[in-house]
């Protein structure tokens, strides 16, 4: 599993892997928002936590179809499915690799973009913490969506349609925690719920994803 993780990380970070694309997309989305709503600092500060969360979510979505599609094309997914490690482990390793190459950079980049949106000073720590807790759930749920659509030729659009509704609870609690943090309110409840969703998703969804891949490889 470690070898698989390292392989995926290498594939993602070397030429043509698309590493950093989602971060660039995140930057562009954030830059576009002031053009849409106007440069007034008060409004931007108010919507900053929500915009950053939605932006991170969309950037995460962007790289989902790469998780299994390339392996499916060159046949390595079949090899992985017949490998001695359980398919659930393969899926979990791939989700972790996706998080390390997408979720973690997004989390680390979000505070910088927060400056652009006049995020209040108290909000930075909570925004980073909520993204740190929430993005693993986004990766795991996204891996499930990618597993469902791996056999399809043009699965990209369908993938977003399937995955985005599943992202709603994570987004609600994550953005709520970030918003409360930036307004100086208590953040414990949404953060705990967010951590609960992440823990539940990490524990259970790899089984569903592995089941979907088995169906698709049949």
């Amino acid at each position: 599993m470690l070898a698989l993780l390292l392989r995926d990380l290498r594939l993602a970070t070397r030429a043509g892997g698309g590493f950093g694309l989602s971060l660039a997309f995140f930057l562009i989305v954030t830059v576009l928002v002031p053009f849409g709503v106007g440069p007034e600092g008060g409004i931007l500060a108010r919507i900053a936590p929500g915009i950053l969360w939605v932006g991170a979510l969309l950037s995460c979505l962007l790289s989902l179809d790469r998780i299994f599609a390339l392996d499916r094309e060159d046949g390595s997914l079949d090899l992985l499915a017949t490998a001695p490690i359980p398919l659930e482990g393969v899926v979990a390793a791939k989700a972790l690799a996706h998080w390390l190459t997408t979720g973690l950079p997004l989390t680390l980049g979000a505070p910088v973009l927060g400056v652009l949106l006049h995020l209040p000073g108290s909000g930075f720590a909570w925004l980073t913490l909520s993204l740190l807790l929430g993005t693993p759930a986004l990766s795991v749920i996204g891996t499930f969506g990618a597993a469902l659509t791996v056999g399809l030729k043009r699965g990209g659009l369908l993938l977003s349609l399937l995955v985005l509704p599943l992202y709603i609870p994570t987004l609600i609690f994550g953005a709520e925690a970030a918003r409360r943090g930036s307004e100086g309110l208590a953040t414990a409840t949404p953060l705990l719920m967010l951590a609960g969703i992440t823990a539940g998703a990490v524990a259970m969804l790899p089984f569903a994803s592995a089941a979907a891949i088995r169906v698709n490889l049949r």
Binding site: L166, P190, L205, V215
Partner: protein, 242 residues
């Protein structure tokens, strides 16, 4: 005689062809009774006026929107566990009906909300969770449409239905946490003291029974269509082979 007999498409077709006219007739009678009674023979509410009567469509369709998903969940589970094709075809048949019921509930709610709340839409937990439910129906149907092989499609949509149910429930409680409600509490309940006055409640119960029967009628009809189209495809394939 057990329910598993109907896993046999032939047996299902026999029984449903016998039952369908009866269920259809019952659905028509109860719906007509409930709606006509509700629309023309109940007094106007002293504050809401005639708009109160939208309840006879709104509440039953909202109930069926949720129950249709619950039915899909059960039939998907049966398919995953016991591999009965009729079961998953029933789930496939129920999805567009459930989606339509969700839309009806949303639209009638908007029509009622405009004069009563002064707005077509509010980000109220109930309204929002219905919108989310609609998105789940949309994804489920889209996945059925996208996958060519029928058995693969059945498996994938069933898994999606199971996972989706968990996340739909999560979303339902997440939006409760997220925003305060404008929507009133349940209009009907079996255990609480306070609910809709009896003059309104009786036609409402009948309309709800009518919607249940309508749902059963439509699901039977659509499942029969699905079975027939599968048979047709099998026949065509056999012809090509010969």
């Amino acid at each position: 005689m057990s329910i598993w007999e109907y896993a046999n498409p032939k047996k299902f077709m026999q029984t449903s062809s016998w039952a369908l006219p009866w269920v259809t007739g019952l659905a028509v009678v109860t719906l007509l009774t409930g709606l006509v009674w509700g629309f023309f023979f109940t007094p106007d509410d002293f504050r809401q006026g005639a708009t109160v009567k939208i309840i006879y469509i709104h509440v039953p369709s909202a109930m069926m929107a949720i129950n249709a998903w619950a039915m899909m969940l059960v039939t998907s589970l049966i398919w995953l566990i016991r591999r009965h094709h009729v079961s998953v075809l029933a789930a496939k048949a129920a999805a567009p009906i459930g989606m339509t019921m969700t839309l009806i509930a949303l639209f009638t709610g908007a029509i009622w909300g405009q004069p009563m709340w002064g707005t077509w839409w509010a980000w109220d937990p109930r309204l929002t969770s219905f919108l989310i439910l609609f998105l789940f129906y949309l994804g489920y149907i889209a996945l059925w449409e996208a996958v060519d092989d029928p058995d693969t499609a059945a498996d994938l949509t069933s898994v999606l239905c199971l996972v989706g149910s968990v996340f739909a429930l999560l979303s339902r409680y997440a939006v409760l946490f997220w925003n305060q409600g404008l929507h009133q509490g349940a209009s009907l309940s079996l255990d609480k003291e306070e609910h809709v006055a009896d003059v309104f409640a009786w036609p409402l119960w009948i309309s709800m029974a009518g919607f249940v029967l309508l749902f059963i009628t439509l699901v039977l009809l659509r499942t029969r269509t699905e079975i027939r189209s599968r048979r047709l495809r099998a026949l065509e394939a056999r012809e090509r082979m010969a």
